[in-house]
Amino acid sequence: MKHRISALLLGTALALAAGGALAQDKNVKIGVLTDNSGLYSDLGGAGSTLAAQMAIEDSGLAAKGWKIDLVSADHQNKPDIGTTVARQWIDVEKVDIFVDVLNSGVALAVNNLVKEKNAIMINTGAATSDLTNAQCSPNTIHWVYDTYMLANSTGQALVKAGGDTWYFLTADYAFGHALERDTAAVVVKSGGKVIGTVRHPLNSSDFSSFLLQAQASKAKIIGMANAGGDTTNTIKQAAEFGIVSGGQKLAGLLLFINDVHSLGLKVAQGLNFTETFYWDLNDGTRAFSKRFSERMKNKAMPSMVQAGVYSGLIHYFKTIDAMGGNPHDGVKVVAKMKEAPTDDPLFGKGTIRADGRKLHPAYLFEVKKPSESKGPWDYYKLVGTTPADQAFRPLSESACPLVKK
C-alpha cells in the first residue's frame, strides 16, 4: 500500500514537472450543452453536436498536434440539470468551452457558473439579450442572435408597415419575458401601442384559449414571444380560429427554419421574421449546409443555432492556435477572441464587442408561397438586411459593466 502511494506521488510529481516543461498544452475539450430530447431539440440537439464535429474536422488542428475532445449532454430545458451537468463537466471532465446552451433560463444559470469557474461559453442558442447586457461576463460570447436584435428588426418592420397595436402571446420564462420586453420597447419607440399580453406555460399544446384572448383584443399584430413547438402550434391553431383571415397579423418574433419545415408552406406562407443565417444565402452557406444535411439523420438543413456552433468554434480554434496552446483560462482566451475579427463562410466577416456580443448582419425574411418554393427547405425570401453595426443593442444603451463609457 505504502509502495503504491509513493509511486502515485512520484507519478504526480513527474506529471507536474512534465506539465511545466510542456508549456504548450494542446488539449481542448468542448461541451455541447443542449436540448437533445425536448421541444427545442431540432434547433440545437444532435445538429449542434454535428456542427461542432464538423468544426473540429475543418479546423485542421488535429494535424497540428492538437487533441480535441467533444462531449454532449441534454439539459432537458431545466436550469438545475444544466448547471449540474456544467459543473461536472468543468470540475471532473475539464471541459474548456461550452457551445449551444439554448434556452435562456439554462443559459443564464450556466453563464454564472462559467464565469465563476473561468471557463468559456459561446452561446449560440439562447435568445435573452441579458447575456450581453446586465448579465454580461468576460467568459461569454453571445454569437448568433438575441431578443433585442429580433425586436429591432421584426418589430420595427411591422410597425412601419402599419401594425401599430400589439398583443403579446408570451412563453412564461426568462426568454419569453425578455423577448416581450425588448419588442414592446421597440413598438412603443416606433410609435405603436401594446394593448395586452398573455403568458402561457412553456411547452403548451393547446393555444386556443390564449388565441381567443388575443383575438378579442382586436390588436393588429399578435406578437408570438415564444419558440419551437410552442410557436408552430400557435401558428397552426391561429389559422383554425380564423385569426389571420379576420385581419390580424401574426408576428413570429423567433422562428427557425425547422419550424417552417414542420408547419409546411401552406400554413407558414407570408410570415415575416428575422434570422442571422439561412442555408441559401450564398455559396459559402450552401456548401456548408449541403455537407451538414447529408450527415443529419433526417436530412435537415442547419438552423442558425447549429450554424453558430460551427462558426463560433472555428473562431475559437483560430484563436487558441494563434496562442500556441490552450492556457485553460477563459477570460484570457475570450479577450483574445474579441481582439481578432471573425471570418467564416457562414456568417461572413464580423467582430466581437467588449460586452461579448458578436456582430453580423440581421436578415428579415418572408416565408415563400408554396408556388414559389422549388422544393424541400427552399422556404425564405430575403426582404431586408440590417447592417451589423445597427442590428444589435448599441453600446451607449448597454448596462454591461465590461463596457467602458
Binding site: 384559449s209 378579442a216 413547438g229 414542420s262
Partner: protein, 287 residues
C-alpha cells in the same frame, strides 16, 4: 361575459381529449389492473399512423379514423400478449415500470427519425372553416371533435356497463377462474380489452393530428395531465373518467382566462385536494 363563454367551449374541446384518453386508461386499469403509462406513446402513434396513411398510402382522414385505431390496437395487443400478460397478479408497480419503459423506447425511436418539431397534418376539407357563434368563432373541426368524442365515450360506457359482452368482461376481472368455468376465454378477452383501450388512445391521436403538430412528444406532454384526470375521477371508473375529463378541460380553460400562468398546474392542485378529501377519487369505490 362573451369571452367567458368562448373559454368554456374551448375547455370543453380540450376536455374531449382528456376524456377519450382517460377513458382508455380507465378501461385498461379497470379490466386488466395495469397502469398503462404507454398510453401517451400510443396516442402519438395514432397521430403518426394517420400521417403515414395520408402521406405514404394517400388514405385520408376519414378512413384513418378507423384504420389507425385498429393498427395501433393490434400493436397494443401484441404488447399485451408478449409482455404485459406475464405481469398479471404482480404488484401494479411492475406494469407501470414496464409500460413506462415501452413509452420511452417508442418515443425515442420516433424522435430519432422525425425530430421534435413534428410533421404537418391538415384539417380535412369537409371540416375546414368555422362559424360565428356571436361570442366566438368556432372552428368546425373543433366542434366535430367534441361531438365525436362524446359519442365514442358514451358508446364505450354502454358497451362495458350495459351489454352482455361488457358483463362478461367485468365478471372476468372480478373472478377469472369462475368465468373460465363458464367456457369463456378470459385471456383472449383481456387482450381484446387492452386493444380497445389502446385503440381509444390512437383515435384521440388521429383526432388531435389536425390541431396539434404530429410530434413524438405530443403524448408525453399530455399523459401526466390525463393521469391526474383518472386519479381525480377514481381509478377504473368509466363514467367517472369521462365526466372528470370534460370537467377538468373546462376548469383548465377558465384558468387560462383568469390566471394563465397557473394553467398547467391547476389540474394537479385539484388532484391533491381531491386525494386529501376523498382518496378513492370522486367516483371511485373504496378498495
Amino acid at each position: 361575459m362573451q369571452a367567458l363563454y368562448a373559454q368554456l367551449l374551448v375547455g370543453l374541446i380540450n376536455g374531449s381529449f382528456y376524456a377519450l384518453l382517460s377513458l382508455g386508461l380507465a378501461v385498461i386499469f379497470g379490466m386488466l389492473n395495469i397502469i398503462n403509462f404507454a398510453h401517451g406513446a400510443l396516442y402519438m402513434m395514432g397521430a403518426f399512423c394517420a400521417y403515414f396513411l395520408l402521406n405514404v398510402a394517400g388514405i385520408g382522414y376519414w378512413p384513418a379514423l378507423i384504420i389507425a385505431p385498429i393498427v395501433v390496437g393490434i400493436f397494443g395487443m401484441i404488447l399485451e400478449r408478449t409482455m404485459l400478460q406475464w405481469l398479471a397478479g404482480l404488484d401494479h408497480l411492475y406494469g407501470l415500470l414496464l409500460t413506462f419503459g415501452i413509452a420511452l423506447i417508442v418515443q425515442g425511436v420516433f424522435q430519432n427519425y422525425f425530430g421534435s418539431s413534428g410533421l404537418p397534418y391538415a384539417i380535412p376539407d369537409e371540416l375546414k372553416g368555422g362559424m360565428n357563434l356571436g361570442f366566438m368563432f368556432l372552428p368546425i373541426y373543433r366542434g366535430w371533435v367534441v361531438v365525436f368524442s362524446l359519442v365514442v365515450c358514451i358508446a364505450t360506457w354502454y358497451l362495458i356497463e350495459k351489454t352482455r359482452l361488457g358483463a362478461n368482461l367485468r365478471a372476468a376481472t372480478e373472478n377469472p377462474t369462475l368465468v373460465r368455468a363458464f367456457g369463456i376465454n378470459v385471456p383472449r378477452m383481456i387482450t381484446l380489452t387492452y386493444g380497445l383501450g389502446v385503440g381509444l388512445a390512437a383515435l384521440a391521436g388521429v383526432l388531435s393530428a389536425p390541431i396539434n403538430q404530429v410530434r413524438p412528444l405530443m403524448g408525453a406532454d399530455l399523459i401526466i395531465v390525463v393521469f391526474a384526470v383518472v386519479v381525480i375521477g377514481g381509478m377504473g371508473s368509466i363514467m367517472g373518467s369521462i365526466i372528470t375529463g370534460f370537467a377538468l378541460g373546462v376548469i383548465e380553460g377558465l384558468t387560462k382566462y383568469f390566471y394563465p400562468e397557473a394553467s398547467n398546474t391547476v389540474v394537479f392542485v385539484l388532484m391533491v385536494l381531491v386525494l386529501l378529501v376523498k382518496p378513492t377519487g370522486l367516483t371511485g369505490r373504496a378498495a
